[in-house]
Each structure stands twice: as C-alpha cells, then as structure tokens.
C-alpha cells in the first residue's frame, strides 16, 4: 500500500528557531516530493518540491533534505516566524501509473511563538 508517514503531528517553535518536519515513504517508487503549506480556511499552497536525484533543495528560509536510501525526506524552516504558523503537508507522486496523483502525509501543525 502506498503510504507517506509524517511526523511530528504538532510542533511548537520559538521565533527565530528551526522547525523540522519529517516524512518517510515505503513500498513504492516516487518521483516527486512536494511540500504544501495550509492556513486555516484555505487550500494547500505549494511551498517547495524536490526530485529524488537531488539530496537537498533550498528556497529562502525553506530547505528540503532528501535521503533516497532511507526513503526519508524532511522540511527545515530556518529563522521561523509567527507568520509560518500553519499546517504543513508532505506529499509524494508515484513514478509509474501515477498520472499526477499525490499521496499526502497526515500533516504537521506548526505554531511559532513570538
């Protein structure tokens, strides 16, 4: 069964700190790993994405680290700000027959305290 497991379920970080969210996948080859940010009452918004031939991708304060052998990937938010408080979802797209279907983790609710 295709699954993406995300942890932690919730995270509290002080302003200026580093937020780290982890995801792991199993059993199926995926070729694309996006992270989405969702604010209450809104749809998910694409934050950053990585492909498995790259071990790290950085965009501003957001970095994805990817470990293909361990089937794990993580999101790091540097210098976390109160405005980053949201729910974050990792996702993965199956390599074969996926037709752009995304499989999401359960989400991490991040609260950044001032």
């Amino acid at each position: 069964q295709q699954q993406v497991k995300q942890s932690p379920q919730s995270l509290i970080v002080q302003k200026g700190g580093i937020s780290i969210i982890n995801c792991a996948y199993e059993n199926t080859a995926f070729d694309y790993f996006p992270w989405y940010q969702q604010f209450p009452g809104k749809g998910p918004a694409l934050l950053i994405a990585i492909r498995p031939d790259v071990s790290e991708k950085k965009e501003g304060r957001f970095t994805i680290s990817f470990n293909k052998s361990a089937k794990q990937f993580s999101l790091h938010i540097m210098d976390s700000q109160p405005g980053d408080s949201a729910t974050y979802f990792c996702a993965a797209r199956p390599f074969s027959g996926g037709y752009n279907k995304l499989i999401f983790g359960a989400g991490t609710r991040l609260a950044v305290h001032p």
Binding site: P44, A91, N100, G105, A106
Partner: protein, 115 residues
C-alpha cells in the same frame, strides 16, 4: 491571473441527499484533480480528469462521480450522502498535456457538512 476557484465555499446537506461541487482551473491548465480532506487529515485523492475523461481514481465508492467540461472546468458529484462525507473538498489543477507531471495548484476548497 485568477488561480483555482471553487464554488460554493460552504454547503450543508442532509444524509441521503446529492451534492455538486464546482471547480474552475488556473488559466492554461488542462487537468483537474479532486481531493477529500477530512478534519485534521491530509488530502485524499478522489479522481483526476483530463480531456473530459476520468484518468485515474482513488479508493472512493461509485457515489463519487465527476465531469470535466470542454473549458476544463470540472464538477464533483456525491450521491446518497453519508455523515462521513463531511469534509473539505479540494480541487487542484495542473498543466499536464497528457504527460501527467505538472505541478498541482489547489483551490480554497468547499466545506461540506452532512447532517
């Protein structure tokens, strides 16, 4: 450039009723996917439409059906509503051109409450 739009924003129905949700994709996008997001959970893939055909379907019963129009907009229909159908229904559009690899952009969703 308008992003993905969905209507209505909120909807209340009773068990056994039928509901239709609508989605207009981002300009230039040709593919629409629908997801169900239960409270506190990640989105779950329902199905995807490309060239007015259902291209792939997730693990959802036949009560869930859809349609894509020539202008690429789409509808999601749910028949015989159950309490468990209460969720945020998300539409995502992408430019796939048949390749199936475009980035998905989500709309704000329709919040459905079944009483």
């Amino acid at each position: 450039d308008a992003g993905v739009t969905q209507s209505p924003t909120h909807l209340i129905k009773t068990r056994g009723q039928q509901v239709t949700l609508r989605c207009s994709p981002k300009s230039g996008h040709d593919t629409v996917s629908w997801y169900q997001q239960a409270l506190g959970q990640g989105p779950q893939f329902i199905f995807q439409y490309y060239e007015e055909e259902e291209r792939q379907r997730g693990n959802f019963p036949d009560r869930f059906s859809g349609h894509q129009f020539p202008n690429y907009s789409s509808e999601l229909n749910v028949n015989a509503l159950l309490l468990g159908d209460s969720a945020l229904y998300l539409c995502a559009s992408s430019l796939d051109a048949g390749v199936g690899r475009g980035t998905q952009y989500f709309g704000p969703g329709t919040r459905l409450l079944v009483l």
